[in-house]
């Protein structure tokens, strides 16, 4: 039966498009450069991996896809011409935002440009308050405003009225009126996109949805056509929450797809780690220009609803990924205070680090790695890209002169400053959220991740590092193994209070909807709770039937963990959230066949200022018995560094473990 299934995942990244095809438990991989038209690269990668597996396209039973179209359109402000419709008196909410400026000391404070220009902001006479309707929306007023909006000929409309999370009726009626008058124009209603209190965040999320959906829908339609022509099934799309959505749902609500790619990476990491029995993870994806970190508890992604992309808050559940602008290509420099700094400027792929020999002259983290002997003269060993060690040394020497340090000290310094930046990023998602990193396994992937992981672990006192077997295409793997997932939220603060019957009724309604839209899914309820008078909620498990004592106890524990103390005040239940999850289509991967023993290479590498003669081995030669560091392990384009005092071993799931001995 397993032989009948062929599951395809394609992830579009900034530089490469990766494809993974699972046929009967065996994985095949392909990598092609990303072209301007993303749907072309998707098809190219798909064809390549299908050819590699030696099957027919028609044999593919499931096709999942992660993309950057939505994020790029938002960052570059290349979305649809969007109009907004708000309660009279509140037309500029999107531009005002929360009144704060992003940088405290800017001489010229700037706000990110609003998605809806002033001339496309419309208001409607109606008002709902915390206690219900204050001013009815008349039919005449709805018609008037719909005509006004239609006259401006927008490509999308975002509707957000005050308190529509309590009373969505006005928004619905306006939605109907607008859709009637503007056929083919996408209308996003805040009560559908995010029925949750705090008007600005809801409005912003709705506007992002309206702004991106026409663009994303166009892309997905083109892709679906190409897939159909090639005989592939219609693609399912990875959403920011780490679950997969069917094509039609994705094409109707683009705000769900902003972190499509990075979320898949975390899902892939969870999948790989769970095969080795690890569930509490800190994922560490270090690439050329940026590094993504995320925290995973019990094999579940942590999601957040407080994400800001391109200056727009998007309050939908997304995998809690913290990104910093530092990677292997980050440039090292000396600032006016004489301190060694790394990044945020990056050499990128062109010209790249000095050692790429493409004209880059600035010293980068990768140049430091090669000077210290962590990287050989060929990226990933024989057959990889040739690296110019002399160019790297020249670049580091120039910096060493400015710092009045030796070459070794300079290179070690660059690594340590870069690592300190990474440590800080990991602390943001762990320590600052009340989690002790020592209880987690560090999962390292991305081009530079495995080379830095052990040192980070040392700094954070993490005892175990896991380097997944398919670390190069982990995101594509995530697509293949990703669960089907849908999320819903309801703000219950104003109209339910602690009435357990009412709350239970809300849960029942939400569950019914989930069963309708994703039959057979497993339902998980959580509650956003706080103490009366506080403004920030904590998410806790919500058990059914709803019992106040259970929620209170969960809040007390969560508060203690996050902020170091408990409160005496009464708790408040603000939102109920539901995540419906149906397990993914792919079977667990089989272990990679071991490549057997081969002759080890030797190299000089510098640890803590001491040059040691280390062994450099192929990944496949590391068995379950383990090898003691110092050691280098090469596979594909990634090199894993095992410092002295650490031990590396391979396991049955094809993953590599680094442990402190």
């Amino acid at each position: 039966m397993a032989e009948a299934r062929a599951v395809l995942g394609v992830d579009v990244g900034g530089t490469f498009t990766d494809a993974v095809l699972s046929v009967g438990g065996r994985f095949h991989r392909a990598k092609v450069p990303t072209a301007a038209d993303q749907s072309q690269s998707v098809m190219a990668a798909a064809e390549q991996v299908i050819a590699a597996a030696g099957i027919e396209a028609a044999a593919v039973t499931y096709f999942a896809h992660g993309m950057t179209t939505a994020t790029n359109a938002l960052l570059e402000r290349k979305g649809a011409r969007t109009a907004s419709l708000a309660t009279s008196g509140f037309g500029d909410l999107l531009e005002i935002g929360r009144q704060d400026r992003p940088r405290l000391y800017d001489a010229c404070p700037r706000k990110p440009p609003s998605l809806v220009p002033r001339e496309l902001r419309f208001t409607v006479r109606e008002r709902v308050g915390a206690g219900g309707v204050i001013e009815e929306l008349t039919a005449a007023e709805a018609e008037r405003v719909a005509a006004e909006v239609a006259a401006a000929a927008p490509a999308a409309v975002a509707v957000c009225l005050l308190f529509s999370f309590l009373q969505p009726e006005h928004e619905r009626r306006l939605g109907e009126e607008l859709r009637r008058r503007l056929p083919g124009v996408h209308v996003s209603l805040s009560s559908e996109v995010l029925p949750q209190f705090r008007e600005y965040e809801r409005f912003s999320t709705t506007a992002v949805d309206a702004y991106l959906t026409p663009v994303v829908a166009r892309y997905l339609e083109a892709l679906a056509e190409k897939a159909e022509a090639a005989g592939l099934p219609a693609p399912a799309i990875m959403q920011s929450s780490g679950g997969v959505l069917p094509l039609e749902k994705a094409a109707a609500s683009a705000a769900l797809l902003l972190l499509s790619g990075p979320a898949a990476g975390v899902v892939g990491a969870i999948h790989a780690a769970s095969a080795s029995g690890a569930g509490d993870l800190i994922t560490f994806d270090m690439g050329g220009t940026s590094t993504d970190v995320s925290l995973v508890r019990g094999g579940e992604v942590s999601t957040t609803t407080g994400v800001n992309i391109g200056g727009c808050p998007v309050a939908l559940p997304m995998v809690d990924i913290h990104t910093i602008g530092a990677g292997g290509g980050s440039i090292a420099w000396v600032d006016a205070g004489g301190a060694l700094r790394v990044g945020p400027t990056s050499a990128g792929a062109e010209p790249g680090p000095a050692c790429y020999g493409r004209g880059g002259e600035e010293p980068t983290v990768t140049d430091a790695d090669i000077c210290l002997g962590y990287l050989g003269e060929q990226l990933g060993g024989d057959g990889g890209m040739a690296l110019d060690k002399v160019a790297a040394e020249t670049a580091i020497d120039r910096l060493a002169a400015a710092l009045d340090l030796s070459r070794d000290d300079t290179a070690l310094g660059i690594r340590r400053v870069a690592n300190a930046n990474m440590v800080k990023a990991i602390k943001v998602i762990s320590v600052e959220r009340g989690h002790d990193p020592r209880e987690f396994t560090l999962v390292a992937f991305g081009g530079a991740g495995p080379m830095h992981a052990a040192e980070l672990a040392q700094e954070l006192e993490i005892r175990r590092v896991l380097v997944p077997g398919s670390s190069g295409v982990l995101s594509a793997l995530g697509m293949v193994v990703g669960d089907q997932r849908r999320d819903w939220v309801r703000t219950v603060l104003a109209d339910c209070g602690w009435d357990e019957g009412l709350l239970e009724e809300v849960c029942e309604q939400m569950a019914a909807r989930a069963h309708r839209e994703l039959p057979g899914a497993e339902l998980r309820f959580t509650a956003d709770v706080r103490y009366q008078g506080q403004s920030h909620e904590l998410g806790v498990e919500l058990e059914r039937p709803v019992k106040r004592e259970q929620v209170e106890a969960a809040l007390a524990a969560a508060h203690e963990q996050a902020y170091g103390f408990r409160m005496q005040s009464p708790p408040e239940l603000v939102n109920i959230r539901l995540a419906a999850v149906r397990p993914g289509e792919a079977p667990a991967p089989a272990a990679e066949p071991a490549a057997g023993e081969e002759a080890a290479e030797r190299r000089l590498a510098c640890f803590d200022g001491e040059w040691l003669d280390i062994e450099v081995r192929r990944r496949g030669s590391i068995g379950a018995d383990g090898v003691t560091g110092p050691l280098g392990i090469e596979e594909g384009e990634a090199t894993t560094v095992v410092p002295p005092g650490w031990k590396a071993r391979g396991d049955a799931a094809g993953n590599l473990w680094l442990e402190r001995s």
Partner: protein
């Protein structure tokens, strides 16, 4: 880095280790701040993040800080210094809010904890947060009309809140009992104590890992590093002395903030000599607030990325006369100093820096503090406004600026929590000043009360709109209404259920002279009360566009007048020996009621008019107690008197009066060698007028010193010509037969005319430069 290397002893940690630890210290502050914001109760902490956290070394030097709003930056070290004076023991936590002993204003409560390790204090952690209420006369503890500190709330001098690990429960209960909603206050204080716990735990973990020696070294190096970077940043600013003045509005009066900024090498000296004395009301600042506002401005013009600590502040020296508005003595009321005066101080310092570096026009410069409350609730909000336009783009609209950066309260959160309804929250379109780049728009926020309550409003920039830059127009001043009736911006009163409060915040200044396509579009269709402003904006815009809005060109004036001066001289030379006595008289320089004398009269009148127009431009400027316009009027008056004298030959006629006094035509010897009797009196008169005026004239030309020297040169030429040469002339006539008088007369009279021309030029040039600064508004009037 070489400096630190030189200091590094054997076995001491290397620079990279120090940097890694310094980064960890900043992380600790950030973690404290995150925990405080998320666990607190006061809207001002949890929604608006009006709080800061910091770490200090064992001697009280600021090592690292997590700031959420700038006004706390320079004020935290004072709190720790005040606690150090109380001899803190390991594990003690102090509480304080006394503005004159380490605090800022009373709602800002600061906790300073002495972090213990093995029985010793290894560092101090501090957290400062704006509490919703600290007692006092008005709910929210931000009365607009307080005159003493006691009225504003409970004053807490540095006191032990936790002694040897034990909470001083009686003391805490006592201070809480004097505040409204003590349960909430306790929650906020517990959140601050939680932050202190986190700091102690994390710092000890860091020492466990890195060792005390390395951590101490990092605590010493972090400030040294910031200081090096600050030195480098200041060195890149042009050296010089820059001055500016700005105003706070107290009823119908203006309170002056006068600042002198000196950039000298790698240091900056900021002084407030000339600032108004401390006032009866509550716009007074303790020195700590003044310092914070200055540091804010300095960071804006230097490098905002320099980690803030003792080192980054060291190269900036701030001084202010004691007892002045910006260095108030107890028991002055200070509620408004922290929120409003701090903004104006930053504005004034930036205005001075604007002479040295290219900076945007002024932003709203107020926080529009709105407090509504009764015994059941306290609602406090600050409202954003327009940002000044930048040299390269329009200003942002509806944004917080300067020394604050707090978030708004979401309408849906507000209405669920308080008996209030928001009826309008929109941009005040068209309120930004026009210019090549437009100033940002302010905000209109309307609230209706669903229960009776007290209102405290504390806002500024209601008369003087934020100034434009480079010829851009000023932004509209803000306005405040209760039930559609305009009310004063500093107000405490009762409101009934159903009453409506509307705040319209100022727009930002424009940048650069407006051209036809950047003039404001017709503002949005007339909301009541907006037409007048809209009309005013529309009226000035085209005029500003047409003539550049800056009046006549000063160089043109100078060229024209000098040409005429020379023409008078040439005509005199050509006609002095003319056979026609009429022609000779008509152009003779030594004869009254002829062409040159009429010309001189007109020239003096013209200069007088120009000086008068300067008075109009400088209407709102103050020079430490005297209005700049008064000085200009005096100058104008002197010129008018001189014109009358020239035309009616008054001083010449006075000679006859004096002759009468002497009884006969006196000899030169009798006159003490002076040719004319009036000379002596004229000199005395000139000195009597010039000396006191020189002082104010010097101040008027602050930042435009070349004009002062040009004017002084003109005066000197005039005096030398009128008194010296004329005297010499007469003397020679008396004692040297055959002396060719004509040439001396020529030099003397032409020099007089040139001097007046020069003065006229200075006035025109000064006015133009002021108009550039103020925006094109008055320029429009002049062009009409």
């Amino acid at each position: 880095m070489s400096a630190s290397r030189a200091k590094r002893g054997r076995g001491a940690p290397d620079p990279v280790t120090i940097q890694v630890i310094a980064s960890a210290l900043r992380s600790i502050c950030e973690e404290m701040g995150a925990a405080l914001v998320r666990a607190s109760y006061s809207a001002n902490i949890k929604e608006r993040r009006d709080c800061s956290t910091a770490l200090f070394d064992s001697r009280g030097r600021l090592v690292a800080q997590a700031e959420h709003i700038p006004v706390h930056l320079g004020a935290m070290p004072d709190a720790v210094a005040a606690v150090l004076a109380e001899d803190p023991a390991p594990g003690d936590v102090f509480i304080l809010n006394d503005p004159f002993r380490g605090g800022t204003h009373l709602p800002d409560i600061t906790l300073v904890s002495a972090i213990e390790r093995e029985g010793e204090v290894i560092a101090f952690a501090a957290s400062r947060a704006h509490h919703a209420d600290v007692g006092g006369r008005e709910p929210g503890s931000m009365p607009a009309d307080s005159t003493t500190l006691e009225e504003e709330g409970v004053v807490i001098p540095p006191t032990r809140l936790v002694a040897a690990g034990e909470l001083e429960e009686d003391f805490l209960r006592d201070i809480l009992s004097r505040m409204r909603r003590p349960q909430e206050r306790r929650g906020d204080l517990e959140a601050q104590l939680g932050a202190a716990t986190i700091a102690a735990r994390r710092l000890n973990q860091l020492v466990d890992r890195k060792g005390m020696e390395a951590v101490s070294a990092a605590m010493a190096e972090a400030p040294a590093y910031s200081e090096r970077r600050m030195h480098a940043a200041i060195a890149s600013l042009p050296d010089g002395v820059y001055r500016a003045e700005d105003y706070l509005e107290r009823d119908a009066r203006d309170l002056v903030i006068a600042v002198r900024v000196e950039v000298r090498g790698e240091e900056i000296f900021i002084d407030f000599e000339g600032t108004s004395p401390q006032e009866e009301g509550n716009l007074n600042c303790p020195m700590s607030v003044t310092r914070s506002a200055c540091y804010y401005a300095v960071r804006v013009v230097t490098d905002p990325d320099i980690p803030p600590n003792a080192g980054s502040l060291a190269p900036v020296r701030v001084s202010a006369p004691e007892g002045s508005l910006v260095n108030a003595r107890p028991p002055a009321a200070v509620a408004g100093g922290n929120v409003e005066a701090s903004q104006r101080i930053a504005d004034a310092v930036l205005l001075a820096f604007a002479e040295a570096v290219d900076l945007p026009a002024q932003g709203q410069g107020t926080m529009n503090n709105l407090t509504i409350g009764n015994d059941d609730f306290n609602y406090y909000e600050t409202i954003g406004g327009g940002a000044g336009a930048c040299p390269d783009r329009d200003g942002a609209s509806g944004i917080h600026l300067g020394t604050t950066n707090t978030l708004n309260t979401p309408i849906e959160a507000l209405e669920m929590a308080y008996p209030l309804r928001v009826e309008r929250y929109e941009l005040r379109r068209g309120s930004g000043g026009s210019g090549r780049h437009r100033g940002g728009d302010g905000i209109v926020r309307t609230l209706r009360l669903l229960a009776p309550a007290r209102l405290s409003l504390l806002a500024d920039r209601r008369r003087h709109g934020p100034r434009g830059a480079g010829g851009g127009e000023a932004g509209m001043p803000g306005r405040d209404f209760v039930n559609d009736r305009e009310v004063p911006p500093k107000l405490t009163r009762s409101l009934e259920q159903g009453d409506m409060v509307r705040i319209e915040t100022p727009g930002g200044g424009g940048y650069g002279a407006a051209t036809a396509d950047t003039a404001p579009a017709a503002p949005a269709a007339g909301k009541a009360g907006k037409e007048k402003e809209a009309a005013a904006a529309a009226k000035t815009a085209p005029a500003a566009g047409a003539g550049g809005g800056l009046g006549v060109s000063p160089l043109l004036v100078l060229a024209l007048l000098l040409a005429l001066d020379l023409a008078m001289g040439v005509l005199f030379l050509l006609t002095r020996n003319s056979p026609s006595v009429g022609l000779m008289r008509a152009f003779h320089l030594d004869v009254e009621y002829n062409v040159p004398s009429t010309y001189s009269t007109l020239q003096l009148i013209l200069a007088g008019v120009f000086a008068f127009k300067c008075a109009r431009v400088d209407r709102e400027r103050r020079l430490g107690g005297v209005r700049a316009s008064t000085v200009w009027l005096a100058i104008s008056a002197v010129l008018m008197i001189m014109a009358a004298d020239e035309f009616f030959a008054i001083h010449e006629r006075s000679d006859y009066l004096l002759y009468g006094l002497y009884g006969r035509y006196p000899s030169l010897a009798q006159l003490g060698g002076y040719a004319w009797p009036w000379t002596v009196f004229g000199f005395i008169l000139a000195v009597a007028v010039a000396v006191p005026m020189a002082r104010y004239t010097w101040r008027i030309f602050a930042g435009r010193r070349r004009y002062f020297f040009l004017l002084a040169l003109a005066g000197l030429i005039f005096v030398v010509a009128a008194a010296g040469i004329e005297d010499f002339d007469v003397y020679m006539l008396h004692f040297h037969a055959g002396f060719k008088e004509d040439y001396v007369t020529l030099v003397e009279e032409v020099l007089e005319m040139v001097a007046v021309s020069l003065a006229a030029f200075v006035f025109v040039a000064y006015r133009r430069s002021r108009l550039r600064e103020k925006g094109a508004k008055e320029g429009g009037d002049a062009a009409q």
